[in-house]
Structures are given as structure tokens and as C-alpha cells.
């Protein structure tokens, strides 16, 4: 039995997410362990940051061809010796590779252990560590983009700028306490209030970005709605590629909302099929329709299905008006059942709604690709600006921001109650300390330094 070392191994990419899977190994013995199962160059003699082509074997059995990258401490992601094995993204291959490495002395990494090691070896700071764990767990492209932005420190930058504002404010207030003998102007209460409010707004923006982050973590929602029998369930099934929802020719088949995960053009989405909308006295159906509208409320994009083999009636007009008047959503009109229309002679004039429109056949799959493209384009258009923004996705950061916000609110209340600076500053310093938890720094000396450099003080 080979003695277990403190070298860890894990799959670094999601299976099925691409054609290549990456297995990552880190620890003092990572190079020698991989070398034992590698046919090709002697990796123990390889330089750091080099890539080698070869084959991996389990005893005498060959597992797969692979590209092996060798990293030497401290120049690796974790700061330790590390190896990355790129192989074919196949469940069985990956499993074989990991298990042969385990047999040779590695152990399975705990969740987040690579990042922890990187953090412990000072390769990354706390907020970077958290961003990385988000990269690892994020499944969609947008989320990756945002995680990378955090890595590059834009969150740190934004938080630092809020911190700087707070330090400036506290300096002004401390100045009034510690240097009141000097010939200095005092900061008026209104200005303090203004500055606190400004910081509160900045924090609130960061907090709001948390809501946006749900899009990135695979929580972007699409709702399929329409009249009964329009083919909503059929569309869901064909988008999913499986028979998820019951499809019948009876109007009112779907009575409750059905929610599913959908990977579409590299994006992870939530998609729901809903009960058909019509005037109904049936209690159950009524409840179902209410749920449909609730779904619309939550959704980011609404796919409004219209059976174009039939004419439009008041029910359609009513759906249109409700959507327009009560919901501010991106709507795509999907004309369904093109296979029933002779030479694209659609009876329903769906263009008249002045909304982006596409005609498909849920049954034959005709136009389905175009629909997917259209959805993807809509999302990209809508969330493109996210590229410039910072998104908070991490609950610890959220908690820190919330505490900061609370402390700022308390400072405001104290000020309005007529409390002296020495009391208000307690709240402001709490706020500052909370922010320090995100960037991993303290601001103890910063305030005095700021005072000495910015004000003419001293007798």
C-alpha cells in the first residue's frame, strides 16, 4: 500500500461542459505521482510551466492520450508543485485517471482545497479566493466572466473606494475630536450626513448587484406562456430534448408550473412551462393561471406562444394587454405549429403585436435553432453591461456589506439624534472594519495617516 501524501487531486472542469476535461493535481509529490502513470517524457526532469504530450496508463492498460502541464512551486496556482492533465471529457476516462492517481498516493481534494492552498500560500487574497471558488462552481459563460472580473480586483477596487470615502469622513470627524484646539474648519453635520448617504448608496448598488448575480449563477428565468393548446409543453420538451411535460390535444392539460434547468448556448437557465391562460371558472385551473402570472413576474424573458394555425381572438389581445401594462419584461412572440400552415400562410398575424417574433414548429423542431439564437441574443443584449459592473455573488461578502450598511444607517440615526462625533465614529469605524473583511485589510493607522497628510495640524 502506497503511503498517502498531502497531494490532492480533483477534476477541475465540469464533465460535458466541453470536449476537454482537466484533472488537477497539487502538492509536493504531484509531479512524481503523475510521472508514475505517464508514458512520455520523464516529468520529474521537466521544467516548470511546460506542457508534455503522452499517454496515461493504469498498470499496463492505457487510459487516454493526454496533455500534461507541469508547474513548479511557487509558480503555480496553488503555489505548490502542480500538474494539470487535459484529457477527453468522458466520464469513464476521467474517473479512471483520478482513481489511478489515488492509487499512486494522491488523495481527493476537499471542496475548495485548491483555492484554500492558493490562499494560504498567498497566491491570492480573500476576495480573489472567493471569486475563484465561484469560477469553479459557475457553469455558465457570463458567470465566468464576472468571476474573472472579481479576480482582477474590480470588487476590491470598488470596496476600496468606498473605504477611502469612509476613512476621509472619519478623519474629518476625528480631527474635530483630537485637534479641536487647532485653527481648523469643522465639517458640518449636513455634510457628514450627505457623505454617509453617498456611501450607503454605493453599498446598496453592490448589494443590488447580488440580485443580478442570480442570472450568472444559472438563475436566469424564462417563462413559456400562452393560451391552452398553443404547444407550450411541446416546446419545453423539445428545448429540453426530453419528454418532461405531458402533451395532449386537450386544452388545459398543464395545470401547474413546471420548472427545469436548461443549458442553452453555454448559458445555464431556468425555464418553466405554465398553465394555459384563458378565462376559467374551474378553481384548480384558476389557481394554475394565477401561478402563470406569478411566473411571468419572476421571469426575465417571456416566450409567448401563439398557435399560428388559428386566428387571433380577444384572449390573445387580453394576454398582450396584461403583459404590456403590468409587466416590464422582454417578450418573444413564438408562432407555433408552422407545420400545420400551408407555405407559411399563417392565420394569426403575430407581427401586429410589434414584438420580436419567430415562427417555429415545436413538433418537428423547425426553427428551434433560430429560437435558441434569439433567446441567447436577447440575454446578451440585456446583460452585456454586466461586463462593466461588479457582481457580488458570495454570501460572506454580502453579509459584510449588509453589516456595513447597517452600521452606516446607525451612524445616520446617531447623527440625527444629535450624538457627538465620538459616538458616530464608533458606527463608522464598525462599517470600515466590515469592509476590511472583504478586502482583507484593516484601517487602524489609515485614519491618523490621512489626518497628518491632509491637514495642517500640530503646534
Amino acid at each position: 500500500m502506497i503511503k498517502k501524501t498531502n497531494t490532492i487531486v480533483a477534476l477541475a472542469t465540469a464533465i460535458g461542459a466541453g470536449s476537454i476535461a482537466v484533472v488537477r493535481v497539487s502538492g509536493k509529490d504531484s509531479i512524481s505521482i503523475v510521472n508514475k502513470v505517464f508514458i512520455g517524457k520523464n516529468l520529474e526532469k521537466a521544467d516548470g510551466n511546460t506542457i508534455h504530450f503522452g499517454r496515461l496508463k493504469d498498470k499496463e492498460k492505457e487510459i487516454d492520450q493526454a496533455l500534461v502541464s507541469v508547474f513548479k512551486s511557487p509558480n503555480s496556482y496553488t503555489g505548490e508543485n502542480a500538474v494539470e492533465i487535459s484529457c477527453h471529457s468522458n466520464h469513464f476516462i476521467v474517473e479512471d485517471i483520478v482513481s489511478v492517481l489515488l492509487d499512486n498516493g494522491a488523495r481527493i481534494a476537499d471542496p475548495g482545497e485548491f483555492t484554500l492552498r492558493a490562499y494560504l500560500n498567498h497566491k491570492i487574497d480573500l476576495s480573489q479566493a472567493e471569486a475563484i471558488s465561484n469560477v469553479i462552481s459557475s457553469k455558465s459563460r457570463l458567470a465566468t466572466r464576472n468571476s474573472i472580473m472579481q479576480l482582477e480586483g474590480s470588487l476590491s477596487k470598488k470596496v476600496k473606494s468606498i473605504k477611502k470615502d469612509l476613512i476621509d469622513l472619519i478623519s474629518f470627524m476625528e480631527l474635530d475630536l483630537d485637534f479641536s484646539e487647532e485653527d481648523l474648519e469643522v465639517i458640518p453635520k449636513e455634510e457628514v450626513l450627505e457623505k454617509i448617504e453617498a456611501s450607503k448608496i454605493n453599498i446598496e448598488q453592490l448589494l443590488n448587484s447580488f440580485n443580478k448575480a442570480k442570472y450568472l449563477s444559472g438563475a436566469l428565468e424564462i417563462a413559456i406562456i400562452g393560451k391552452p393548446n398553443a404547444g407550450k409543453s411541446e416546446l419545453l420538451n423539445s428545448l429540453l430534448g426530453e419528454e418532461r411535460a405531458i402533451v395532449t390535444n386537450l386544452p388545459g392539460t398543464t395545470r401547474d408550473t413546471i420548472e427545469e434547468n436548461l443549458t442553452l448556448k453555454n448559458m445555464l437557465l431556468k425555464i418553466s412551462d405554465t398553465a394555459g391562460i384563458r378565462f376559467s371558472k374551474n378553481h384548480v385551473e384558476k389557481k394554475g393561471i394565477q401561478r402563470t402570472w406569478n411566473r411571468v413576474e419572476r421571469a426575465d424573458i417571456v416566450l409567448w406562444i401563439i398557435d399560428i394555425s388559428k386566428s387571433i381572438n380577444e384572449q390573445d389581445a387580453e394576454i398582450y394587454n396584461t403583459l404590456k401594462n403590468y409587466y416590464n419584461k422582454d417578450i418573444l412572440v413564438v408562432g407555433n405549429k408552422t407545420d400545420l400552415c400551408f407555405k407559411n400562410e399563417t392565420r394569426a398575424k403575430v407581427n401586429s403585436f410589434n414584438l420580436p417574433t419567430i415562427n417555429i414548429s415545436a413538433k418537428t423542431g423547425n426553427g428551434l435553432e433560430e429560437l435558441k439564437e434569439m433567446i441567447a441574443k436577447t440575454i446578451n443584449l440585456k446583460y452585456e453591461h454586466l461586463g462593466e459592473e461588479i457582481i457580488i455573488t458570495n454570501t460572506r461578502q454580502i453579509e459584510s456589506l449588509k453589516s456595513t450598511f447597517r452600521s452606516l444607517s446607525e451612524a445616520k440615526i446617531s447623527l440625527n439624534d444629535g450624538a457627538g462625533n465620538e459616538f458616530v465614529v464608533v458606527d463608522l469605524r464598525n462599517a470600515l472594519n466590515e469592509l476590511g473583511l472583504i478586502t482583507g485589510e484593516t484601517a487602524t493607522e489609515d485614519i491618523l495617516n490621512n489626518i497628518f497628510s491632509g491637514f495642517c495640524i500640530g503646534k
Binding site: H122, E441, C456, I457
Partner: protein
Amino acid sequence: MANRVPRETNIMTDFDIIVVGGGHAGIEAASAAARMGCRVALITMNLNKIGLMSCNPAIGGLAKGQLVKEIDALGGEMGKIIDESGIHFKMLNKSKGPAVWSPRAQADRQLYAVVAKNRLENISNLALIRGSVNGIIVNSKKVSGVTLEDSGPIYSKSVILTTGTFLNGLIHIGLKSIKSGRAGDKTATGITESLVDQGFKAGRLKTGTPPRLDKNTIDFAVLEEQLPDNPPTPFSFSTESIENKPIPCYIGHTNNKTHEILQEGFQQSPMFTGRIKSIGPRYCPSIEDKINRFSDRERHQLFLEPEGYENREIYLNGFSTSLPEDIQVRAIKTIPGLAKAEIVRLGYAVEYDFFPPYQLFYSLETKKIIGLFFAGQINGTSGYEEAAAQGLISGINAAAKINKLKGFRLKRSEAYIGVLIDDLINKSTLEPYRMFTSRAEFRLFLRQDNADIRLFEHAKKYGLLLKEDIRRVNEKKQAVNSLNKHVKVNNISARKFNEIYDEISSKIEQPQRLDAIIKRPEVNLAELLKVTQNDDYPLDAIKEVEYNIKYEGYLKRNLELINKFKENENRIISKHINYKAINALSLEARDKLNQIQPESLGQASRISGVSPADISVLMIYLEREKYNSNVPRET
């Protein structure tokens, strides 16, 4: 008293403790140790300059006033000396909350020194010795005395060095420099060298002082007069009232003409030309520094402070300078009121040696040499009060060691003195360290007026208080307790309340409990007690109770922080750790932690250069150690 060198110099029999230096640190160190029953010698170059104020003739000030009150609460001298020698008392920040009030007083400089010496002479087991110490005697890492320049060695169990700016002091005026620790005094050579030989790290700092003017050549009529408080509030809790006649200070201002002349002297400034390389305090900049850095300011405020009743010198506070003589003379004459002013003593800058205080334990004993203590400017601090506080702590600890008591340490949450020493040990001082209230994160609790009850248990435990002090503090504590109960069970009637607070506070319909109604900012407990015929509570007890109730909400939030702080203080790092071997720590943290060897995780977190990331690493490390030591090892 015995102010001569004992002839017999048997090993270890001369004194228990030798204090080197008769400044503010030396005074407190010697008197505290002597009061704790040790045989103490205070050695200084000139016995008539004990307690001499080398810089401005004032005690206290923002944050510093709190230090003096704490020193007093621990039985120290400073508050009592200034109460006897002060000529202008003022409570600063009076327009703000009680937590940031600070007493300050101008002293009659000569009188202060006379009172200081008298008080020391009256301490029975304290000898005052004139002499110039030029070396520390060390045997196998243990101190055993000092050597004097012109007589033999003196032996002791402990030595406390409080040498101020005297270690290799070098005074600068323009491009001239003179070896001296204070205008008119010699410098102390030999001590730094002998300590560096022992492996101590030394550094160099700078400080400055303004010119002194002849009182009789100033036109006070054009200056703004600043009157002291009437009646004055004493510093010492034991002083009943101040007897000295108060005299005013004056405020003046520089102008563009002044600045122009000063600028002419810049080429001959020892600072700007790089002759002085050591770092001076940023909070106490020279006038040339102020006009250089803040060139858009058209004037700077100056305080003209009398140095005493008889003394003709006026201290020109705010005009610290090391520019050449002719520039000082001409620049001053441009200031309104000073057209004819004569300089009695020039302003100057002084450079001196200090020992970065990470080389000390919390007791202020050096880590390198057993029984050797440092206090005051030698540790890189500035200010009389900071020096005195350290002197007191070093004296108590030196005596505690001899009396086989536990070391004395104040926490940051207990006292400004705790903040001071904690900062010194853990933050690398790059400039002379001065106390500010903003350094004390728990300042809401560290009020100048509650220092006596706040530090009472410590003071009692180490035997620092006189019997009458103990009785006084006990009485105050009892009064506070009974008043605390009183306000919880007693009401004020609506009629009485509405009568006295008519138009000031909104009317009440029903009788209100005292502890509820005094939450209103405009309501005053003393007044309520008076109208309810309960005026037998002393005012200081009333203030204590009122503060804690009125500001309860705010105090609670700060209290939560104190609890968090204590939690980390209680995570003790009991053994010596080789931090160099913990690779996950940043290089800087490894060095700093190895150097300081913190006693707790809390302390580690305050060391400059140790980041929160390092603290998490350390936490993981300590957890793992604990885990490993609990799990029996295989093989």
C-alpha cells in the same frame, strides 16, 4: 534624604532598582517602585533639573489629559505636581461629550521642577544621586547595575532607563549643530553603544522646540487673550482645589511676510538640506514644514504661553523651528504684537537615539536583558504624559518582579496607558509616538473622570494608593452603586419636571422614572436630584451614573466590540513558535511575529505587517497544533 553615592558597592546590595534619568518617566518609575517598598536610586545629571519641562510648559491636553488622570489613579505623581504648580487650567473639548474631555494646564516651569523634586525627596526609600551614567553592567544576560562617568559602578537588581532625548543628543539650529540633549545640557554617550553591543537595535528620531520670547518685549494688547477655566478642575483625584492664581495665555498669527522670511532660510534648514535624516513627529511639525506643505494657508495660529509667574520667558507654541538665528529673529518681528520681541532662547531641532520598542515585553522589561527596563522617549514616544505613563508601568513592574508579584499590564479596553504600551510594542514606530483619543478604540469608556474607579482594583492590588485614596474611591464607588439603584426606583412628578424644563424639554403627563427621563439629552440628573431633595450624591458619582444611562445605546455597540476584542486576547499563544517555518504566512508577518512573539492571537492581529490573511493562517496553524497535541501520535 540620602542623596550621595553609597560607598560600599557590594554586589546586589546598593539598591533594588536604579532609575536613570530625572524626567517625567524617571519621576514616576522611581516613586512607584519606592512606594511598593523597593530601595530605589534615581540618578540624574543635575538634581535641580528633575522634572524640568524641556519643551512646552504644559501638562495634559487632548488624550494626554486622560493619561495623566490614569497615572494619578495608579498613585502617580504627575497630576499632583501640576496641581501644585499650574497657572492656567482648562478642560478641553468641553463642548463635546464627556468621553473626549481632556484637562490641560500651563505650569510655572520652575515651580513644577521644585515641586517634583520635593515630592521625590519625601519618599523614604528613594535616593537621588547626581551622576552621569555611561554604561549598563550586564552579567550573563542579566542587569546588575550601571557605571558612572566620574565615580565607580552602582549595583542593583534592576535598571530602568529613562534617558529622554539625551542619548547622543544633537541639537540643530540652521546648519550649526551642537552635541546636547537639551539646550544648555550635556549629551549622554556610552549607553547606546553599550546596549548595541548587547545586541539591541537602535534608531534615531528628531523633535523640535520653538523660540522663547522675552515677556517684556511683547505687545499683548494686540493679541487675543485666552482665559483659563474658573474655577479650575484639578488633575489629581486627591486635590481638593487649585490654589495658584490663574494667568492668561495669548493667541497670535503668522502672516505672508512671516512666511516669506522663513522661506529665505530654507536653504539653511537642517531638515530641508538633509542634514537631519531622522524622522520627526508629523503632528508637531515645524513652522517651516507647515508653510512648505500647506503653502495655500495665509496664516498659522500661535499660542503664547507664559512659563511662570516670575519667569520672563514666553513659549511660542506653534513656531517650532530649526532655521538659523537671523531668520528666527526677523520672522518673529513680522507677527502682530511681536514687532519688538526679543528671543531669549532660539528654537532648535534635536536628534536622539531610541530603541524600537518591539524589543520590550508588556512590562517594559527588555527581552534581551533580564531586569533592564526602558521608559519614555528612549522608546520612541514624545510628550511628558506618554513618558510618565511608561515610567509608572516600568516602575511598577520592576518592583513587582522584585516583590515576586505578577507583571502589571493594562488592556486596551481598560486604559489609554494600555493602548499606549500595546501600540508601542506591536506597531513599528517610525515617528515619535503621541497619544490621540482616536487611537483608543474604546475611548467611550476611558473617560478622564472615571480613571479612579476604572483602575482601582489594579492600583489596590499593587499597593499604589494611600489609605485616604482607597477610602475616597470606595466612597465614590458606593455612591455610584446606590445612585444606580436610586434612579431605577424613583420617579419625578410631572409637575416638578414640567416646571424646571418648561420650554426646554417636552412636557410629561405622568410621573417618569429617573433613569428613563435622563435619556433625554437636555435633561440633567444633578438637577433632577436637586428638585427631588436627593442632593447628597457627589457630583462625580452623578456624572458617572448619568453618562452610562444617557449613552447606553451607543455604549452597548462599543461594548460588543470590547467583547470581541477580549475573545481574541484570551486566545493565548502559550509557547514560543518558530514563525519562520510557517510558509503560509507572508514573509513580513513571519519576521514580525518571530520578533515580537505575541502572547495572544489578539496581539498578533495588531502587529503592523500582519494582515487578516496571516491571522487566518495563524488560526489554522494553532487549531492544528491543538488538534495534533490532543491526538496520540502513531509510531
